[in-house]
Amino acid sequence: MNTFSNLVYLVPLLPLIGFLINGLGRKSLSKSLIAIIGSGVILASFAISVGIFFEARHFGANPVIVNLFPFIQTAGLSIPFSFQVDQLSSLFLLIITGVGFLIHVYSSAYMNEEETQHYGRYFAYLNLFVFSMLLLVLGSNFVIMFIGWEGVGLCSYLLIGYWFKNNNYNYAARKAFVMNRIGDLGFLLAIFWILGVLGTVSYTEVFTAEALARFTPTDVTAITLLLFVGATGKSAQIPLYTWLPDAMAGPTPVSALIHAATMVTAGIYMIVRANGLYSLAPTTQGIIAVVGTATLLLAATIAIKQNDIKKVLAYSTVSQLGYMFLALGVGSYTGAVFHVMTHAFFKALLFLGAGSVIHAMHHEQDIRFMGGLKKHMPVTHITFLIGCLAIAGMPPFAGFFSKDEVLAAAYGSDNQILWGLGVIGAILTAFYMFRLYAMTFLGKFRGTHEQEHHLHESPLAITIPLIVLAVLSIVGGFFGIPEVFAANAHSLEHFLDPIIIKGSAEMHHLDHATEYMLMGISVGLALIAIIYAWNRFSKRPELEEQTGAGKVLANKWYIDEVYEAVISRPLLAVAAFSKNFIEKGIIDGIVNGTGRFIQYSGRQIRHIQSGQVGNYILLMVLSMVLMILLLFYGHNMNPVIDWIFN
């Protein structure tokens, strides 16, 4: 009955094999073979994932645990290396392998200019990335999740710094790694804390009523906060979000992979997984909601003044992640997962579309030098427009349903200001996305003649993934049709129901009139923003340098500079002090001083060796007399002499 679920180990194993083949054979395999292996393993994983997904519908509250081998086995502590298949992990499997596969196919064309060896390296990293993410969502305890968690951190570092000859890219990769590590520390502490209280980290043992009852309120608040610190690192929330926009240094499909299918959704997954704990910690939930809202507004305001096509999309990701955390904060775990899913579709679509544009423009990323691409790249244009409409929350595209659910949940919470801020965020989202769209595809072409001459639609390997993702962006929302349109049509909520542990605080149910009103307000305002941006930027694109408030936004609120001044500089100063004073002065002083003392004393003692036989004999006699005296009278002088003569 659980045929596919028992084969679940193949899902991460296949990408790992792909990674090994491509990684080891990158110098001997041909490009087409590398692409086929790289994409093929993901496709196979996807096929198994589909089977698992359909089986998981019937699991109810009993997940399938596939034990592979004992991982840590000591007295009183047993952590198995095992996978857990349930509704949540099977859904994530679909997103990761499905979107991941499309990105692999896309990459095979996009990266075609690379040398074979680097092409192989790229696909190896990509497969490893997918493998790590699968490990993360499949692990049946927090430790396995942590392995995957670190794995995606490593792979993002490798892929962001893929073009390692450019030092700025290396810095961006390093920044991503360091920021992730800061968050990881929180996650690690949370794991230890859970181990300390319960002695186990398996989900099936932690998230039971008896186990949860053993946590004191302090435990719960601290653990959830520490887990959230981990999530802010991986999912790019304030204060650890600045690595994500810088991660644009990597190839565009990598950005799509990081932003849509893997990596940034890890934080959401982890909190949804631990929803039993979070429901017990209202303080943490409040903090999450506030952080999420602040992030979504901050990132949205930055996005409206960015000129790099990928930077706009990066900040929009940060902003959309803010929505997901807002949903988590107000207790709508289904809403968060739903938004993860729809966001995976349209964000992958937008990034791949942006990649297609960049490809056609010969690595020009500045939208001020684009414009009028509509007639040159019809498929990219249409699909990109669909992606923009989806992220802006226009019905009936996917983003509408998920964003509406998040906003409705925020309205139903105790704090309706969150809803108001969320709507402002939605307006900003619509505005900056259509600013991007209009400046890229509408108006006149503003690049060089040579670029215009070479403008072309991308090859099929690029456009087919775009079309598939565009279809998903249109229909993806129908998995979560809200109560007002049709009763019991929210299939995702029914699907995820078994893994959401019901807390004491049930969601307020809004009546239909209110819900229609909420939809009307957010859609109406977003529509106005779209129309304004469309008209404004297709006719008068924003080409001049920003001044005043716009300059602050274009410079990302100077957050990077503030971090530089408040955190990096003092740290570097401490490091310089340690290096110059403690290291060079004290430690080197001790080490060199020892050597210098030995040399000095050696030089002095050398004078005894005068060559005068008489002196030698005199010294010999004197020392013999001394030893005889010690032998007779020195017995109790001190323990050292006792030790010498006994």
């Binding site: 060796q609 005068s610 060559g611 036989v613 008489g614 005199l618 006699v621």
Partner: protein
């Protein structure tokens, strides 16, 4: 005769040897002083041997206690004879090279 006399004589001989070695520069004299020290010790050994043997005979007429020391004296003399032959050879070589038997010329091993 009481053993103290022998001990005193040996100590005096030994000290004369030590002082001779320390103060004289003539290699042959130093050599003689070394022999003097060796013989001071030999004398002491013989004296103690005689004393122990005499004490043991008083209780047991067949006792051999203490005679080993006299054997050791013979060993010492044999070793001393060998040493003398080597030492004198060195001194002869020293004289051939430096035309002197002053040990203070032997400072080639300095540094």
């Amino acid at each position: 005769m009481p053993i103290q006399y022998y001990i005193t004589l040996s100590v005096v001989l030994f000290c004369i040897g030590v002082v001779g070695v320390l103060t004289r520069r003539n290699a042959i004299i130093i050599f003689m002083c070394v022999e003097l020290m060796l013989n001071a010790v030999n004398l002491l050994m013989v004296a103690f041997s005689k004393m122990h043997h005499g004490n043991a005979l008083a209780t047991n007429p067949d006792s051999l206690a203490g005679v080993e020391a006299q054997l050791f004296v013979f060993f010492t003399m044999v070793v001393a004879a060998a040493e003398v032959s080597v030492g004198l050879a060195i001194i002869v070589m020293l004289y051939r090279n430096t035309h002197s038997v002053d040990v203070n010329f032997l400072n080639r091993l300095k540094n």
